[in-house]
């Protein structure tokens, strides 16, 4: 994919500079997390970038996992449920909205576009939201939090989907309609499969956002037995005393799921986005 470079020869010097810079800017912070996570408490509190004199990986790992009644494991289960459920709902609902919104201009379109954009920019009003959830009996329940994540995430997903649906030629719809497809069939059998590459992007981005969400679980699903992984950071970062080695071990552990997701989808994120765009 030579785009800008008119020559097909790799640029060795530029590459080396880029790789060197990337190591300094992007890898060193992660190396720091990794190193601090395996140090002893005293050594970690020095906060320097040094090779640990003694490796405490196993002990720190065990300490973090066992802390507060295996809270991290509970948190991982909760976060997984939250992420999987909200992302599944989000993808289907947002794609449906984006599809109709992109395809059909009515006098409502303006209003809907406005609402979608509003969802992206308006900071949610926390206390009134709690008040509504309570009226519905959903406050402090997992379904409540799932719906909250769906409501807050819709806008972004709709915008992404809409952009990519606009690259799918209308002729495809028309062909499908002529073939006798109803709206649901058109959407689920024709459009949705075409969106697969974008869906991967949405799934990755939203999973990461929701998995990394800190504020919403804090307010809408309080209580230790409901903790999500981001809240476990509190355990090791108390205002009075900080156990940096455990804190960083925790950061390390909760970074693993996004990392796996990334390794798994790495190629397809970019390939997926570009494929979706190229279709146009």
């Amino acid at each position: 994919m030579t785009v800008v470079a008119s020559s097909r020869r790799p640029r060795v010097l530029l590459s080396l500079v880029a790789i060197l810079l990337s190591v300094v800017v992007f890898l060193v912070p992660f190396a720091f997390i990794l190193l601090t996570a395996v140090k002893s408490r005293q050594e970690a509190s020095q906060l320097d970038f040094s090779w640990p004199t003694q490796f405490q990986f196993v002990q720190n790992f065990a300490d973090v996992v066992q802390a507060r009644d295996y809270m991290l494991i509970i948190a991982f289960i909760n976060s997984t449920i939250l992420t999987v459920a909200s992302v599944s709902i989000l993808v289907v609902l947002a794609a449906m909205v984006a599809f109709v919104l992109q395809r059909r201009r009515t006098r409502w379109s303006g209003l809907i576009n406005f609402l979608v954009l509003s969802g992206l920019i308006i900071p949610p009003a926390v206390v009134p939201t709690i008040w509504v959830l309570q009226k519905l009996g959903l406050f402090r329940t997992m379904p409540g939090l799932i719906l909250i994540e769906v409501a807050f995430g819709l806008s972004f997903c709709i915008l992404l989907f809409r952009a990519f649906i606009s690259t799918i030629p209308r002729e495809l719809d028309e062909a499908a309609v002529i073939d006798g497809a109803g709206p649901l069939r058109l959407f689920f059998r024709v459009i949705l499969p075409l969106l697969r590459s974008v869906i991967i992007t949405v799934v990755v981005v939203q999973s990461v956002t929701i998995f990394n969400d800190f504020t919403n679980p804090l307010y809408f699903l309080p209580g230790d037995q409901n903790a999500t992984v981001q809240l476990t950071l509190y355990n090791f970062s108390s205002a009075y005393s900080t156990q940096y080695n455990l804190l960083f071990m925790d950061i390390l552990l909760i970074t693993i799921p996004p990392l796996l997701m990334f390794l798994f989808f790495n190629k397809r994120i970019v390939a997926g986005m570009t494929a979706g765009a190229v279709k146009g």
Binding site: S45, Q66, R68, D69, Y70, I73, I74, I77, N78, I81, L82, V84, A85, S88, I89, V92, V127, I130, Q134, F139, R140, T141, M142, P143, I146, G182, L184, R185, F188, L218, Y219, L221, P222, G223, D224, Q225, N226, Y234, N235, S238, A239, Y240, S241, T242
Partner: protein
């Protein structure tokens, strides 16, 4: 089409059903159902010493009452924690019992509406403490932890080496600082990496304010006294600015954290640290063998004769009105235990006591650190200690820490800081609906 729509709704409801069973608890058995057993949930802040005390109390209580299990939950500290407590109370979603501040923060919980008064152990409580958990003549809390002082912890070795005396007035203090600085030690430790630690020169100075202008707290509540216009009150802000301007504070004051400050003090890199005396337990845990190297003196004022210690009342365990039935009965037993001699013993075993207990007849062990003995001397001497302003007036602005950081870092001048703080408290007073604001 019908099929796919059904499939969709099945999918949706399946995910919801799946979501409904959040993981709950692992690793500990939670047998609530059978045999008249009751499990109480107990919310505390997440400071390590607090958690130790709470878990110690839970364990010792269950040992005495095998039918009742207490399960500790934690919340963040500071304003974030205040918010969680208030939200959960207002939504009827509080744990069965919870630990929270006494004084003005307790008053802000609307106790008559959200809490259940407890009376069984009232006569056992220290009067000063009882006042801080009383609302409309009813007592609501059992003391958790110890009295503490907002004072200056100092390194006795540094003092001894330089032949310094404990200062009673600000001028003596500054004179000491000059000598300490000349010897190459940082005279005053400040740790704005944790903003709350910046407030001690103001909050810990309240005994001196009260001594200079008796009844200041009342006038303050009625909007008749202000920090900016009352010289003894403004002095706190001025002191904060002076130690910065004179270069008496440690170089890394802006980023240092509490832990760093305590370590500096323990190692003698810094001589004096204005902080809450409760931080001693962490100081000693982090720097073993320093029990008798660290002393304590009250924040110096303008008058030798009137200098004294500003004291914080312990936090308390409360019973929210959302707890009812068997759980309420069990919770009352628990509070009674906490406010009794067994509770004191349990707390003392869990964490080094750093001040007197608020239960009559509970004595701190003789092995307490030197600083606690110094503190006790002030408390035992009549008229040499007062409760902090937050226990005498409900008016406390939320931005004091940030303002103190600004004044203590030279970003804002003392008088401007005092004025800004007066604006800040106005919101709180109006929110509380106090008259005169």
């Amino acid at each position: 089409m019908k099929r796919s729509r059904i499939a969709l709704s099945v999918l949706a409801s399946a995910t919801l059903a799946l979501g409904a069973c959040s993981a709950g608890s692992l690793g500990s058995s939670d047998d609530e159902g059978g045999g008249g057993k009751v499990t109480l949930s107990f919310l505390t802040d997440n400071q390590p010493e607090t958690v130790k005390i709470a878990e110690g109390l839970a364990k010792d209580f269950t040992a005495k009452n095998p039918d009742i299990t207490v399960k500790v939950e934690t919340r963040p500290q500071g304003t974030e924690g205040d918010n969680i407590v208030k939200t959960r109370l207002s939504t009827g979603d509080m744990t069965d019992v919870f630990q929270y501040n006494s004084g003005s923060l307790f008053q802000a919980l609307a106790p008559s509406k959200n809490l259940t008064a407890v009376d069984g152990f009232t006569d056992r409580l220290d009067e000063n403490f009882a006042k801080t958990v009383t609302f409309e003549d009813k007592v609501y809390g059992a003391p958790f932890g110890n009295f503490m002082a907002g004072a200056i912890l100092y390194n006795k070795d540094v003092y001894a080496k330089l032949g310094l005396q404990v200062p009673k007035t600000w001028d003596e203090f500054m004179a000491n600082n000059a000598k300490i600085k000349a010897s190459g030690v940082d005279p005053v430790i400040q740790t704005y990496g944790e903003t709350w630690t910046s407030q001690l020169f103001i909050l810990g100075d309240y005994h001196n304010v009260e001594a200079a202008e008796p009844g200041w707290a009342d006038k303050y509540t009625k909007n008749q006294a202000k920090y900016a216009t009352s010289p003894p009150a403004r002095a706190g802000f001025e002191h904060l600015q002076q130690v910065h301007d004179a270069g008496y504070i440690n170089k890394d004051f802006a980023s240092a954290k509490l832990t760093d400050g305590l370590t500096k003090l323990a190692k003698g890199q810094g001589a004096q640290y204005p902080i809450l005396s409760a931080m001693l337990s962490q100081l000693i845990a982090d720097n073993p063998g320093t029990e008798n190297k660290i002393g304590l003196f009250a924040i110096p004022g303008s008058d030798t004769a009137k200098n004294g210690l500003t004291v914080w009342s312990p936090s308390a365990v409360y019973l929210p009105s959302s707890t009812t039935g068997d759980k309420a009965e069990a919770a009352k037993k628990f509070l009674d235990f906490v406010a009794g001699p067994d509770g004191c013993a349990s707390q003392a075993a869990a964490s080094q006591p750093t001040g007197p207990f608020a239960v009559k007849g509970c004595k701190v062990p003789d092995t307490v650190p030197q600083a606690v003995k110094d503190m006790q001397a002030y408390i035992d001497q009549p008229g040499a200690s007062s409760l902090a302003l937050e226990f005498l007036s409900p008016v406390k602005g939320p931005a004091l820490e940030q303002i103190c950081v600004e004044v203590g870092s030279g970003i804002r001048k003392a008088d401007a800081g005092a004025k800004l703080y007066d604006e800040d408290v106005k919101k709180q007073a109006q929110q509380l609906g106090l008259s005169g604001w």
